[in-house]
Symmetry: C2
Subunit: 365 residues, 2 copies
Amino acid sequence: MRRFIGVDEIEDMALGATVLGAGGGGDPYVGKLMAIEAIRKYGDVELITPDEVPDDAVVVVSQMMGAPTIMVEKICSGLEPMATYDEMVKELGVEPYAIYAVEAGGVNSTIPFILGATRRIPVVDCDLMGRAFPELQMTTLGINGVKGQPAVLADEKGNTVTVRAIDDRWLERIARQATSVMGGYTILASYMCTGRQLKDFAIPGTPTLCEKIGRTLREAREMHADPIAAVLEVTRGHRLFKGKVVDVERNTDGMFVRGRAVVAGLDDDKGRELVIEFQNENIIARADGRALCTSPDLIMSLDMESGTPVTTEGLKYGARIVVVGMPCDDQWRTPEGLAVVGPRAFGYDLDYVPVEELAATEGGR
Amino acid sequence: MRRFIGVDEIEDMALGATVLGAGGGGDPYVGKLMAIEAIRKYGDVELITPDEVPDDAVVVVSQMMGAPTIMVEKICSGLEPMATYDEMVKELGVEPYAIYAVEAGGVNSTIPFILGATRRIPVVDCDLMGRAFPELQMTTLGINGVKGQPAVLADEKGNTVTVRAIDDRWLERIARQATSVMGGYTILASYMCTGRQLKDFAIPGTPTLCEKIGRTLREAREMHADPIAAVLEVTRGHRLFKGKVVDVERNTDGMFVRGRAVVAGLDDDKGRELVIEFQNENIIARADGRALCTSPDLIMSLDMESGTPVTTEGLKYGARIVVVGMPCDDQWRTPEGLAVVGPRAFGYDLDYVPVEELAATEGGR
C-alpha cells in the first residue's frame, strides 16, 4: 500500500525525530514549518521502503549541517534544498530516484520532505544513523566504506559549494569550514549511493519510528498518560536521572555547539548530580563519577511534565527534566561503528558499555 | 607572427614576474620548475594576444591561492592545474579557448604554462592586476563588474571544491577558508570570462613585460651593468631606500602571510629607518613617519648586488636590499580601483598618492 506523508505525519515525525536526535539534529520548529509549507503548497510526499528502490538507482540525502543554534535565529531562504539538489544532479549527471534523511533529528528528518514535496520525489523510509551525530563521517555508509561525497552546500544568500573529497573525514573538514564561513549552517545534498547500498547499509524504518514516537508522545499527553513512560516503551529506553538543570555552558565556535549541562537530582535522585556533555548531540551522561550512558547510545532530555524533548540549544537553567538513555542501532556496536562514534572518537578515555548493561548495574533505576 | 614560450622564456618570465609580484605572488622556484617540466615533456606553449581571442570565446585563469610560504615546503602533486581545469570544463559545459594568468608573481605567472603545455592550450598575454595582490576580489575584471566565479580549487591530496559565489568578496571568503583547511594553499581554475571582457578589462602584455624585466635583469648581470638601474628603467620605477634588513615579523595565519620588515639605511639613507608592511604582497613602505609608496603602486625589495627580487617569505635579517617603487596600471588609480586596493582597503588611514609624486616630494632620491 502506498504511504504518503502529509502535515499531520510531519508534526508527529518532527517531534519523534527530536527524541532520536539525542539533543542534536536541530530544533524541530523551523524544519517542520518549512516541510509543512512545502506540503501545503505542492502536496503530500510518498514514503517508500528501501526495498522499493531499484538496486542501480541513485538516491541522495537532503540535510542541514552546522550549528543548530544559528539556524533558529537566522532562518533559511527556503530555496537551499532545491539549489543543492540541482547542483547535485549536474554533478552526477543523473536524476536521483528518491531522497532520504541522513539522520533522525528535528531539522534533518523533515528537510527531505521539503525537497520531496517541491520536486515530487519520493522519500525513502531509512536513515544513516538511527539517531543524530555531529560529524559527516559518522554514518552507516561510512563504516561500510561508502563515501558520502560529492556534497553540495548552499547558504541562504545564494552561495553554493561542491566538495569532492578523498574520504569522509576530508569531506567533514572542508564542508565544516565552508559552512562556518557561509554563516554557521548550510543545507546540503550529500551521501549519493545506490539502491543496493541503501538496502545493505542504511537503517530502515527510522522516519516511521520517528513518527511513531511522536504519535505516542502526543497521544499519551492527550490521554493524560505518562508521556515519558510511553517514550521509553517505544524506544526500549531507560530512565537515567530526574532533576533540575542548574548550569549550562554552551559554546558555538562557528562549527559545533559544544558544552555541558549540570542537573541537580530530584525525588529518587535527590542529592545526586548528573553532568551531560555535548557536541551538538549529547555524548556522555555521568553521575557519581561513572557513566550512565555514552555515545553511540542515545542520551535525551525530556521535559518532566510533558515529555517534550529538549535539544542542547534549548537546555536552560531551571528546566525540570528526565534524562533517558536509549540503545543505538546494532551497526554502531561493532568495532567499526565504535571506532567512529564510540566515546573515544569524541575524546573520552572510556570503553563503551551498552546502556542496558549500565542501567542493570545501576539497579534498574 | 606566432610566438611560443619555451624553457628560456619561462626562466626570464618567472624572474621578472617576481619583480612585479611586489613581494608576493610566491617564490618563483617551484612554479618555474613545474612549468619547465611540463614544457620539456609536452612542448612550448603558444602565447596569443587578447585580440586573438574571439569575443564570444571563454577563457579561464589557472592560479595558486594561499600562503606562498607553505608552498615552498609542501609542494604540489603537479596534477592540480589539470584537475581544476577538468572540473571547470564540466561546470561551464564548454572547453575554454585559452588560459591566462590572474597576476604577475613568481608562481602565478608560470602556472598557466603548466596547463597550457600539458593540454596544448594557448596562454593569453595579459593578466588582471599588472602586479600581484593578495585577495580574489582585487582584479580589473572585478572593478568592472565581472565576477571571478565559479572557481574550482584543488589540493595536492586530490580534494577538489567548486565555489559558486554571489560576488567576489564571498568567493574570497569561502575559497580562502577552504584553502586554509585544505592545507594552506590550493591551485584554482577561476575568472572565467569572454574574449570581449578580456579585451575590455584585462591588462594586456603583462607576461611579455615580465619576460622583458627578467631578460633585462639577466643581461645587466651578464654585462656587469647595474641590475637595479636596468629594472627601474624598464618598470618606470623609483629607488626608495637602500639598507639592511634588521627585523622581520612574519605570521602565517593559515590564510595570509602578514608582517613587517624593518630596514636600517645604508649610504645615502644612513641613519634612517624604513618599515615595509605586507599581506602576502608589500602594501606600504614608510620612513620618517611618511609613506614613500603605497598600494596599488608596487613596492619591491631587490638584492643590493644582484638585483634579484626578494619576496616577503624570502626577507631575512641581514639582507642588503634596495627598495623600489613602481607605478601601477592606471585602472587601479581610479576611484573604483582604489576602493578595492588603495591603502584604506588594507586598513591604513591614508590617502593614495602616486609613487612618482611621493618620489618628487622626497627630492628625487
